[in-house]
């Protein structure tokens, strides 16, 4: 057990972070080069102001038409993403690890807060899964990869909750939690989770087109 623990917190952790960081930089760089080469007619219209205008407006819940027409999805999406990003960063146990390995210290959320946030992530994933199963327009276009990334995204949180509440075998859960977290990190640049990297640019581009060329809102 200790060996496995050392493996997942040592070499595998380095590997996962390396794949995540190097992979992300690589993919962003390749995409940028491709855009410069092939999408000049689109790049020419990119604008900082309209990009930010669009991004900000889409970050306000119920502001965009798409959000207003789908309240359940809006609540689920915002809650899911906010918790998914913030809970791991400000979780006490994670900050302790940062301190232990690198001497980095920063404020944390209270443990019951991150516990609830993790549960919100799982609940959000259940909403997404429910839509994939029962909403016909979503089911029609769902592919294996959509299920895969949903599972990849939810497992670290599910195992984290089980470990925190010491349900099943604690050590096994912690190891699974770390492992699934690493899988998620490594998967970001190379699966549909890459929307984390690219969505800001597609949104910015659409905002630029609608603001600068079409002179209307894109939300």
């Amino acid at each position: 057990m200790h060996d496995i623990y050392n493996l997942v917190t040592g070499p595998l952790a380095w590997l996962a972070w390396a794949i995540f960081i190097v992979g992300s930089v690589y993919r962003l760089a390749i995409m940028y080069i491709l855009a410069k080469k092939k999408d000049a007619a689109s790049m020419a219209y990119m604008s900082w102001g309209f990009s930010l205008r669009s991004i900000i407006n889409w970050l306000i819940p119920f502001n965009a038409l798409g959000w207003r027409r789908n309240p359940v999805m809006t609540v689920a999406t915002f809650a899911f993403h906010i918790c998914l990003v913030l809970a791991p960063i400000f979780l006490l146990a994670h900050v302790v690890l940062w301190d232990q390995f690198f001497g980095v210290e920063y404020p944390v959320f209270r443990e019951n807060v991150t516990d609830i946030m993790s549960m919100i992530v799982v609940a959000g994933a259940l909403v997404f899964a429910g839509r994939r199963l029962f909403q016909k327009e979503v089911r029609y276009v769902t592919t294996c990869q959509d299920w895969l990334i949903l599972v990849i995204a939810v497992l670290p949180f599910l195992t984290g909750i089980l470990a925190y509440h010491q349900i099943f075998n604690y050590q096994t859960m912690v190891i699974l939690h770390i492992l699934t977290g690493e899988i998620m990190l490594a998967a970001i640049p190379f699966t549909r989770l890459s929307h984390m990297l690219f969505a800001v640019f597609t949104r910015a581009y659409m905002g630029s087109e609608f603001g600068g060329v079409r002179r209307v809102k894109d939300w």
Partner: protein, 438 residues
């Protein structure tokens, strides 16, 4: 559920796919994907989360009882997603279905943009599918005929070189009875405005040229029209995916205006021609800015109104509703000017449809869909049920729609759903209400 369950017989599509082999398809698809598309398509393909939020944006989906194969992402799933996944290795029959989806079940209206959190442009994806189909030679017969007309005559309707000035002179002649001294000045160098129309105007809506001439005459506008090819601002080649020809059309249009050294081009009440200038054609010929400033009739009439150049003898009886054409509203933000102008012209209120301004539901004719002709008319009309419901709810008798395609589509919709409404161009109303010599 899916395109293969609802294939419609069209001679253009049928003859086109007969000539295909999987090898040829693969080569052409790869050629377009590698040669013409880049990061935009790659990113869209990768980050579409398949959340389905775009479904509700699409009038085809709304009107077909929520059939998921009509949703924007559903259409992408059946076309571009397959082409990318299979690297272009699909069968001729698959191409038939893809062409039918891309040409006849998507108006490229881009309402789905307002529903997609990650900012995916389905209109662009569908245009790229059309581009592939064009290069494969699989296009609906009717729209291909108009594209051929563009290639042969530089106008959409096979209007011959002598027929064009002849039509203008005929309208001038007719109008001089009502407005003595009225001219349709041809090839006048240095005029303030160059008026360009789409070829269906001289072909079968010639009264619109008459009306425009009457309005410009009454407002004292210094205007001209060209006597030679270049006068047609329409662009069906943009919709078939014949981008080479699209570029030639735009260049010819602007060169014709440059030759006359005019200050501005005013485009008639048409939407798609405007798109071909601000969005597609100009980029194809690598112009970020247009060589001659271009404005749409909505803007020009609005200017005339603001400057007090249009004098009304009466106001048009309201209330009315306004239909926002996607290419000049979602495409150019003219919704408020349009409303200001309508308020100026009518006696009564504007009753808005539930979806309005940049969120307006499409007329279901645009994007070349109506130009694909009779074989696809029933599907198109079934697709406009959502629009018909919104129109009926306004309870008005008049729809103001400053776009030819919207007119064609809405006329069919009004008839099919028995809405009992009239559709008016801005020019119709201005002409009817303006002061005329007694």
């Amino acid at each position: 559920m899916g395109i293969q369950d609802r294939l419609i017989e069209d001679v253009g599509l049928r003859e086109g796919v007969k000539r295909l082999t999987e090898d040829k398809i693969e080569k052409v698809v790869q050629g377009v994907l590698k040669g013409e598309t880049g990061a935009r398509l790659a990113a869209y393909n990768e980050i579409c989360m398949r959340c389905g939020l775009c479904s509700e944006a699409c009038h085809f989906y709304l009107s077909h009882d929520g059939d998921p194969s009509y949703s924007p992402v559903g259409k992408v799933q059946q076309t571009m997603a397959q082409l990318i996944k299979k690297k272009g290795r699909v069968s001729p029959d698959d191409i038939y279905g893809m062409a039918q989806i891309a040409y006849t079940e998507c108006n490229l209206c881009r309402r789905c943009v307002h529903f997609c959190p990650v900012g995916i442009d389905t209109g662009y994806i569908m245009s790229t599918v059309r581009r592939i189909c064009h290069k494969l030679g699989v296009t609906p017969q009717y729209i291909q005929d108009t594209a051929h007309s563009h290639s042969a005559t530089f106008n959409q309707m096979w209007v011959k070189d002598d027929e064009w000035p002849d039509s203008l002179q005929w309208q001038e002649d007719e109008a001089r009875e009502e407005f003595p001294g009225l001219r349709i000045p041809l090839d006048k160098e240095g005029a303030d405005i160059y008026y360009s129309v789409i070829a269906p105007e001289p072909k079968f809506r010639t009264q619109l040229i008459y009306q425009a001439a009457a309005i410009f005459n009454a407002a004292g506008v210094d205007w001209t029209m060209p006597s030679e090819p270049g006068w047609d601002n329409s662009d069906m080649c943009m919709f078939t995916g014949d981008f080479e020809m699209m570029g030639r059309l735009k260049r010819r249009h602007f060169e014709s205006a440059q030759k006359l050294k005019v200050k501005r081009i005013v485009m008639g009440e048409c939407g798609h021609a405007f798109r071909s200038i601000y969005d597609m054609g100009n980029r194809w010929v690598a112009w970020k800015m247009y060589p001659v400033p271009v404005i749409h009739s909505i803007e020009f009439f609005w200017e005339l109104m603001k400057q007090g150049k249009i004098k009304l003898a009466k106001k048009y009886p309201g209330p009315v509703t306004v239909h926002d054409p996607c290419n000049v509203v979602r495409g150019r933000g003219h919704h408020e000017k349009l409303r200001e102008l309508v308020r100026f012209l009518i006696d009564g209120e504007i009753i808005e449809t539930a979806s309005n301004r940049e969120h307006n539901i499409c007329c279901t004719a645009g994007g070349g869909v109506i130009n694909c002709g009779p074989p696809f008319k029933n599907v198109r009309l079934a697709g406009s049920k959502a629009k018909a419901d919104e129109l009926r709810a306004t309870g008005v008798k008049t729809i103001v729609a400053p776009c030819h395609n919207c007119h064609g589509g809405l006329e069919d919709t009004v008839k099919r759903y028995e809405l009992g409404m009239h559709i008016k161009f801005l020019g119709d109303i201005i002409y009817e209400c303006m002061e005329k010599p007694s």
